[in-house]
């Protein structure tokens, strides 16, 4: 199957180095301490953060820093074929772990000892790049909750199909079986917090694909910053903020 046409267009009409349209909204869940919706094309994710709060299970309490918990699940209606298992399967458990480790790298947990931060992420619509969208949504939700962070974590995927590096793969491109790199970075600190890859890739091509993913992450970081700044400016009437 031809994933990139001779004119240099992908199946959904994008250029190889073009991202899908992104949209974010803060404060989607009124009862949560922080929440956000993040959309990347047809992938739509909602994240809710609760905490820092009292640790529910005393045996898990850590005296030196906060306990970060994460739960990822896909809604039954998120894909074309209705899903049977939405939570607790191996894939969900692995992605929960990935998100938790990525977010722990940016949260200043030592400032909140003996407390607990819960991150709940649900995929409402899935069209490739769900874990990237989940990390971006979780970052926004954490910032909304006022949890101290070193930097904003942003994530983006990139792949290599038809001898062309592609940015922000959708489901069809993701399912093609080619190399798929998911990258998470701290843009201001220039540090990598997540790097996952399916399939094999020559080292020289990996550098190109990674550079493409980094540019995507930085573009998302700029957008997330704009959303956070706009949210703060909405409250500028307030004298006490």
């Amino acid at each position: 199957m031809e994933y990139v046409s001779p004119e240099g267009l992908r199946l959904d009409g994008r250029r190889p180095m073009e991202m899908r349209q992104i949209r974010a909204e803060i404060g989607a869940v009124s009862k949560a301490d922080g929440s956000a919706i993040f959309e990347m094309g047809n992938t739509k994710v909602i994240a809710a953060v609760y905490g820092p709060r009292e640790v529910q299970n005393r045996s898990q309490q850590i005296s030196s820093h906060a306990l970060v918990r994460c739960e990822y699940c896909m809604a039954n209606f998120s894909t074309g074929d209705r899903m049977r298992k939405s939570k607790g399967d191996r894939r969900s458990t692995e992605i929960s772990l990935v998100i938790r480790q990525t977010m722990e790298a940016c949260i200043l947990t030592h400032l909140l000892p003996r407390s607990q931060i819960d991150i709940y992420v649900q995929v409402l619509q899935a069209d490739g790049g769900t874990r990237s969208a989940c990390i971006n949504a979780a970052t926004l939700a954490l910032a909304d909750a006022g949890i101290p962070m070193r930097d904003l974590v942003t994530s983006c995927s990139a792949g290599y199909l038809n001898s062309t590096p592609l940015l922000d793969l959708n489901y069809v491109e993701d399912s093609a079986g080619g190399p798929d790199v998911t990258l998470g970075i701290l843009p201001k600190l220039d540090k990598v917090t997540l790097l996952q890859m399916d399939s094999k890739l020559p080292i020289d091509i990996l550098e190109n694909v990674m550079q493409l993913a980094i540019e995507g992450c930085k573009a998302i970081a700029n957008y997330i910053r704009e959303i956070l700044l706009a949210n703060t400016k909405q409250l500028e009437y307030r004298r006490g903020v």
């Binding site: 201001k188 703060t232 009437y237």
Partner: protein, 240 residues
């Protein structure tokens, strides 16, 4: 926290900032002390932001980030509204919307002795002052002011308690009086207790007045002073 610096101004003051933003570079600064408030931290030779909000500066040398959130981070000398969740022999456990439950010693009341220990049922609403707030231990409360007098602190009877953001509670306690409270106070009589932890208690003679005051305060969060006054007038038109 104190650090040496030569310049007390930064172009980000009164601007919105995000986590990771560097507001001051200390590598080429000497001879002056700066003080860092909430939302800022020193990372090697840079002062960086760790919470999204608006950067503020107070002369001569204080920087902090003002932000609004639902959770409360305890600070000493804050007045808070807490809910009793458990009672022990020597203290009450109080929920103040923080990372951990707070301790309220049974002797932390005016004239508190072993003879006259107060009896609070679980669910009692208490207006208290944060005495200690160290990160490694549970916050400690007291129902007395610094001089040991009860002042306005203690259990709150009747009334209605609702939750808001920490930013709104700071606005309600700001000086001069917040426009929404000013406008309501001219037309209605009611009692109000505002906790810096994002809880507000309102008590009035009639439920109607209580509901109007509570709704007006909750609606005022994103309104300017003039808009708050107009909103109060419209609410009062409906009940008179």
């Amino acid at each position: 926290m104190e650090t040496k610096s030569s310049s007390s101004s930064t172009n980000l003051v009164d601007q919105s900032v995000c986590p990771g933003d560097v507001i001051l570079d200390l590598s080429n600064m000497t001879n002056q002390t700066i003080k860092l408030g909430g939302g800022l931290r020193q990372d090697c030779d840079a002062i960086s932001v760790m919470k999204a909000g608006r950067l503020r500066f107070s002369k001569p040398n204080k920087y902090w980030v003002e932000n609004s959130q639902k959770r409360y981070v305890p600070h000493a000398e804050d007045s808070v509204l807490g809910i009793v969740v458990d009672s022990r022999s020597d203290n009450f456990l109080v929920d103040i919307k923080g990372p951990a439950l707070a301790f309220l010693p049974v002797l932390a009341f005016e004239g508190g002795t072993r003879r006259n220990i107060p009896r609070f049922e679980i669910g009692t609403l208490i207006y208290a002052r944060v005495v200690k707030a160290n990160p490694g231990m549970n916050p400690e409360l007291a129902c007395t002011d610094a001089s040991g007098k009860a002042a306005e602190f203690g259990a709150l009877k009747d009334g209605y308690m609702f939750e808001c953001t920490t930013g709104l509670s700071r606005m309600l306690l700001s000086s001069p009086t917040c426009p929404v409270l000013d406008a309501l106070g001219k037309k209605l009589s009611f009692e109000i207790a505002v906790g810096l932890n994002g809880r507000v208690w309102v008590s009035a003679a009639s439920p109607q007045t209580t509901i109007v005051v509570a709704n007006a305060i909750m609606n005022s969060e994103t309104l300017s002073g003039a808009q708050q006054r107009i909103m109060v007038e419209k609410l009062l038109e409906r009940i008179h």
